[in-house]
């Protein structure tokens, strides 16, 4: 198993079917986390974790519940800084110790717990913290609503959402998840982190989202997909990272592994 880890130094990494011309990973990966430790009191949630995201690459982050996947995702999102370890963005040492810092690195996240405010409208949720404003910070509500309609209509086509002024609290679980997805998709730049994004989606919506992740890749945007569905992961991802007890226990590129092998590693650990 150690062998399978060693030949995955990020420098040597070439993403599977990377777009030809220009976007090949010359040099440093988009984002790299080295020797990450995260403690909650005495509990160690991430234990010497190493992880990287290449250019125009879709990475699967797999592992049982409690393995530390969400902890790692939140760390890259800037809302859960590591206890120790180093993070590099485009090869440059960077502290991702605030959401703003992570946003500067072009990272956008669909959180596992959705991160929406029930008492606010869909539009206001989409633009929460990133409102479109006129002078002096007053909201440009009309513009916000226009854009919201545009986003809702394009990213993941959500069944049954016909009023962007509706309070999020009155949406179904799947619709809420779709709003969270639409928001992240709209604001993402270089990297989209998806933490179990399809858990409440219908088959059609899931297909749509996974297809979208592939589309992003061809536009040069990288993604990290956290999921328990290995078939979904295998369908869209270029590389697979399996975590257990806060650290990496298996890593393989798509052409070097199979669903059976991945299943084995996820179950065994």
């Amino acid at each position: 198993m150690k062998d399978s880890l060693r030949h995955f130094s990020p420098q040597a990494h070439v993403p599977v079917d990377a777009p030809t011309g220009g976007l090949a990973p010359i040099g440093a990966p988009l984002l790299e986390a080295r020797n990450i430790v995260k403690r909650y009191g005495s509990f160690v949630a991430l234990d010497d974790m190493n992880f990287f995201i290449g250019r125009a690459e879709v990475v699967a982050l797999l592992g049982d519940n409690g393995a530390g996947k969400s902890t790692l995702v939140k760390m890259m999102s800037g809302i859960n800084p590591p206890t120790s370890g180093e993070i590099f963005v485009n090869g440059k040492r960077t502290e991702l110790n605030s959401r703003a810092a992570s946003e500067r690195a072009g990272i956008e996240t669909i959180y596992q717990d959705i991160a929406l405010v029930d008492a606010m409208s869909i539009t206001r949720n989409i633009f929460m913290g990133r409102e479109i404003t006129t002078r002096l910070g007053f909201l440009d509500l009309r513009r916000m609503e226009e854009v919201a309609v545009e986003i809702l209509g394009s990213a993941v086509q959500i069944s049954g959402i016909d009023n962007p002024r509706k309070e999020v609290g009155f949406l179904s679980g799947g619709q809420k998840q779709a709003v969270a997805i639409a928001r992240a998709v709209y604001f993402k730049r270089n990297i989209l982190l998806l933490d179990e994004p399809t858990s409440a989606l219908s088959v059609r919506e899931t297909e749509h989202l996974l297809g979208y992740v592939r589309e992003l890749k061809s536009d040069g945007t990288s993604s990290v997909l956290v999921t328990h569905n290995l078939y979904h992961a295998y369908m869209v991802c270029d590389r697979f990272v399996v975590m257990s007890h806060g650290t990496k226990v298996f890593e393989a590129a798509k052409q070097d592994t199979s669903i059976e092998e991945l299943t084995d590693h996820v179950i065994r650990t």
Binding site: G78, T109, V117, D118, A119, M120, G129, G137, F138
Partner: protein
């Protein structure tokens, strides 16, 4: 699917916006907490006007003097409730606003009086009361920041911090001034700006209107207001998206303290004197007005229109009881009942929409 999804939503939005006004109104009443309270308010007003017309001698609701007195007395509680409401929406409480109302109006008055701002003095200073007011407002904001810092630094409920604050500032009032009442008859133009009268319109109600509009713009039309709702509605979501909850809450605490100070000075200007215990109990009335107007105790819900209507309803009830010469304890009983009924109504509205 012949229509694009976005086009489909756009058409639905257009249809929604094109509803006839009566339908819009009915939807608003049915679905928003302040809609329900608006109806209740209208019903009470119509009943009172009918009563006033039918029994002009025994129920003097429509008498100009009665209208003037009611309009005069609304502002202090209303101004306080605006600040308390914003803080509740941001997910925190301030039980100290009643004590601050007394303490800071006394600070303003003593400063103004010591700078020769009393209208009875020789060549009174026009600036002195303004200096007193400015000091009280700044102190109110700072005290709010202190409440916030303690609440957030030690991660304790603001209910506890400001309960402590209430007792502390009540004691500070007695320490600073004693238990006697304090004269506050400010010089011009302060007296007219904050205590003038034009027919039934008192300056204080004008200030209440100005602040209500300003708070409406802040809460419902400004980025900061959006952050208040986000932080109060789901703190974790707000953090996940990059809103700084502590900064946002601190601003809300400062607003509550600021408004307590302003409301205290406005009330003192109208009455002409300050009772050191005058603000006690007002914090609960302010919270009651907000809750009646649809603010949730758990934060994240509420509106400025709701706060205004809640305050107005509380005062209408008080007025009715005074006109009926009912003993004072009836007021508490009615407001108490109203709070419970309002929350039952709001909860039912929310459930029916889910």
């Amino acid at each position: 699917m012949s229509l694009s999804h976005a086009e489909h939503i756009r058409q639905a939005v257009a249809a929604h916006n094109a509803r006839p006004i009566p339908v819009k109104l009915a939807d608003w009443v049915r679905t928003s907490p302040e809609g329900g309270i608006a109806v209740l308010f209208m019903v009470v007003q119509i009943a009172c006007i009918a009563g006033g017309l039918l029994f002009p001698d025994s129920f003097r609701y429509l008498l100009q003097a009665n209208i003037a007195v009611t309009l005069k007395s609304i502002a202090p509680l209303g101004l306080m409730a605006l600040g308390v409401g914003v803080l509740m929406i941001a997910g925190e409480y301030d039980l100290s606003v009643g004590a601050l109302y007394s303490f800071l109006s006394i600070v303003a008055a003593t400063v103004a009086n010591s700078l020769n701002g009393d209208i009875g003095g020789d060549h009174p200073s026009w600036a002195a009361p303004f200096i007193g007011l400015a000091l009280a407002l700044v102190l109110g904001g700072l005290i709010g920041c202190v409440h916030s810092a303690i609440t957030l630094r030690f991660n304790i409920p603001s209910f506890i911090t400001t309960l402590g604050g209430m007792l502390l500032w009540k004691g500070a009032t007695l320490l600073y001034h004693g238990a006697s009442s304090l004269r506050f008859k400010p010089s011009e133009p302060f007296a007219t700006i904050f205590g003038g009268e034009y027919g039934v319109i008192h300056a204080s109600i004008v200030w209440f209107a100005i602040f209500a509009v300003a708070f409406y713009l802040l809460l419902h039309r400004h980025r900061l207001g959006n952050h208040f709702y986000a932080v109060g509605g789901n703190r974790n979501a707000a953090v996940a998206i990059g809103i700084k909850p502590n900064r946002t809450k601190t601003i809300a605490f400062a607003i509550a303290g600021f408004m307590a100070a302003f409301s205290g000075v406005v009330a003192a200007t109208r009455v002409g004197s300050i009772q050191p215990g005058g603000g006690l109990g007002m914090e609960l009335q302010a919270i009651a007005a907000c809750v009646i107007g649809g603010a949730a105790l758990t934060g994240g819900r509420g509106s400025i229109l709701g706060v205004v209507l809640g305050t107005a309803l509380v005062f209408t009830i008080q007025d009715i009881l005074l006109l009926l010469r009912a003993p004072g304890f009836y007021f508490d009983m009615f407001v108490g009942t109203l709070i419970v009924v309002a929350v039952i109504m709001n909860t039912a509205i929310r459930r029916s929409r889910a």
